[in-house]
């Protein structure tokens, strides 16, 4: 980089700070003014922005699991299910659940019993039991769980491991990840902002 005078050096620092949103109002005005008028500053700004993005786009790394303590959650799990955790606790519990399969299993068990208890007066309960027994014998496949949809009304949800759609062969394949990405992209169109409808 060419040698700069003090003012330019200061200004250059402000450009970086601008990217991080840490300027005072006065400094912000100065930067905005410079970016409106000075082509060199604009070029400098874009380079800084690229450097910043390059670092930010590096992935967060997975910590080797043996480095984490093997303690487990307890009453937090019930509070988590009931949405009773404080906003400070929620990220801690979520982070733990992400890294701890044992707690996830305990959570699933807790939730199953919780739902069974809540569903007791409902019409689904006897159906559950029948479905569970019959499918187990009919398919000889382990059925992990039988539950009601959160709304419950007229719906029953059964978990199964092999979908009846699953089949091999030479057929064309579409992945749900692709469909999901397409939905996300379309859903990101804001209200009242139009995108050009001419192809590039």
């Amino acid at each position: 980089m060419a040698r700069m005078n003090t003012y330019q050096a200061q200004l250059s620092i402000l450009l970086s700070c601008y990217l991080d949103g840490v300027l005072t109002d006065e400094e912000l005005n100065e930067v905005v003014h410079v970016l409106d008028n000075d082509l060199e500053a604009i070029a400098e700004f874009h380079k800084l922005k690229e450097a910043r993005r390059a670092v930010r786009l590096m992935p967060m790394l997975e910590i080797p699991s043996h480095l984490l303590p093997r303690t487990h959650l307890d009453e937090e799990l019930s509070a988590f299910l009931d949405g009773e955790l404080s906003t400070q606790e929620t990220p801690i519990v979520s982070a733990h659940l992400e890294s701890c399969g044992e707690c996830r299993m305990v959570l699933a068990d807790l939730d199953r019993s919780r739902i069974a208890i809540r569903a007791l007066p409902g019409v689904e309960s006897p159906v559950f039991l029948d479905v569970h027994r019959e499918t187990t014998t009919a398919t000889r496949r382990r059925i992990p769980a039988v539950v009601a949809l959160a709304t419950g009304v007229a719906a029953v949800v059964i978990a199964f491991t092999v979908g009846p759609f699953a089949s091999g062969g030479e057929q064309p394949t579409i992945s749900i990840a692709d469909l999901n990405a397409r939905h996300a992209a379309v859903a990101s169109v804001p209200a009242a902002v139009q995108i050009s409808n001419t192809a590039p």
Binding site: G21, L61, T151, H183, V186, V189, Q194, N197, A199
Partner: protein, 312 residues
């Protein structure tokens, strides 16, 4: 349990106009709230938790959000989305640009209920209730300074929380220019389609636009201004991956395969002509109504056969 790195995540976002403290403001103002939230600029960790039956789905993401777009980092990938575009550096880098002249419809069925001032994460915030008739559909904790939604709870038809989206490590930023598209990723341009296979309105959701989908399929995108979903109509010959661990969802109309995630739900079924896949962030009770208005699972489908074999 979580599907980090596999799912692409753009939830509905919300914001609020400063000083909106009059109770029972109308849907027009809710729209302002949502529009302003898209403009909020911040960095945060976003934890999304959803309850689907007995399944709890949680994801934890680093989010950089700016006007109309956001960058989400997960374990090994990142995704930038906004304005009908999405660039993803996951297992397979990909870019999508949707060409449409249409916009999300106006909100008609939701209104703002009570609005109160609260403290959240040591910040001044507004607690906004979003009503759907007499049903409380959502509670939003909206940061007063930035307009970002710090906490959003969405309720199912029985008034129970089914999704919580919370921000922590929240760092609001002043505006800075939107990052440019990543030039290293090839971009696929998706054209609008003139098909009218599906109805213009489904259970209170309006069709926004129809697009060409992969492998000759087509995508119909619906929204009610707050939630949204896409229905993909796909050839019967096509195999659809990603439902290996699905659950079965049974309604009066038949049996569907369902994969719930923290951010959305994916549903698959087939009638006698086509496969269908629905993807969206809709509440479970809306999902049931929508499915009831879509082509039902075919009587000759393998699902039905499977079902009848089990239950006669």
């Amino acid at each position: 349990m979580t599907r980090l790195g596999r799912s692409v995540l753009v939830g509905t976002t919300f914001a609020v106009a400063f000083g909106v403290l009059t109770p029972a403001v109308t849907a027009g103002e809710l729209e302002d709230i949502i529009t302003q939230a898209r403009e909020a600029t911040y960095n945060a960790t976003r934890v999304t938790k959803s309850v689907w039956g007995n399944q709890i789905e949680v994801t934890d993401q680093l989010v950089e959000h700016w006007s109309g777009g956001e960058l989400v980092r997960t374990n090994s990938s990142w995704t930038v989305s906004g304005n009908g575009r999405l660039v993803s550096m996951g297992e397979v880098p990909s870019g999508l640009v949707f060409l449409t002249a249409k916009t999300t419809p106006e909100i008609q069925r939701y209104e703002v209920g009570s609005v109160t001032t609260v403290k959240h994460m040591h910040r001044s915030a507004l607690r906004v209730e979003v009503m759907e008739g007499d049903l409380k559909r959502a509670t939003l904790i909206v940061d007063e300074r930035s307009g970002a939604v710090l906490l959003a709870e969405t309720f199912n038809g029985q008034g129970r929380v089914f999704r919580t989206v919370s921000l922590s490590d929240f760092k609001p930023y002043r505006m800075y220019p939107e990052p440019e598209e990543m030039s290293s990723v090839p971009v696929q341009v998706i054209m609008h389609s003139d098909s009218d296979l599906l109805p213009n309105e489904l259970a209170g959701y309006q069709i926004v636009d129809v697009f060409q989908g992969p492998g000759g399929s087509e995508q119909s995108f619906y929204s009610d201004g707050l939630f949204g979903f896409s229905v993909f109509a796909i050839s019967k010959r096509t195999v659809i991956d990603g439902f290996a661990d699905s659950m079965a969802l049974v309604t009066d109309d038949g049996l569907y395969e369902m994969v719930p995630t923290a951010q959305d739900v994916r549903i698959r079924w087939a009638d006698k002509d086509r496969n269908f896949v629905l993807v969206g962030d809709i509440p479970p009770d809306h999902l049931e109504e929508i499915l009831a208005d879509l082509p039902a699972p075919g009587r000759d489908s393998m699902l039905k056969i499977w079902w009848h074999k089990l239950f006669g």
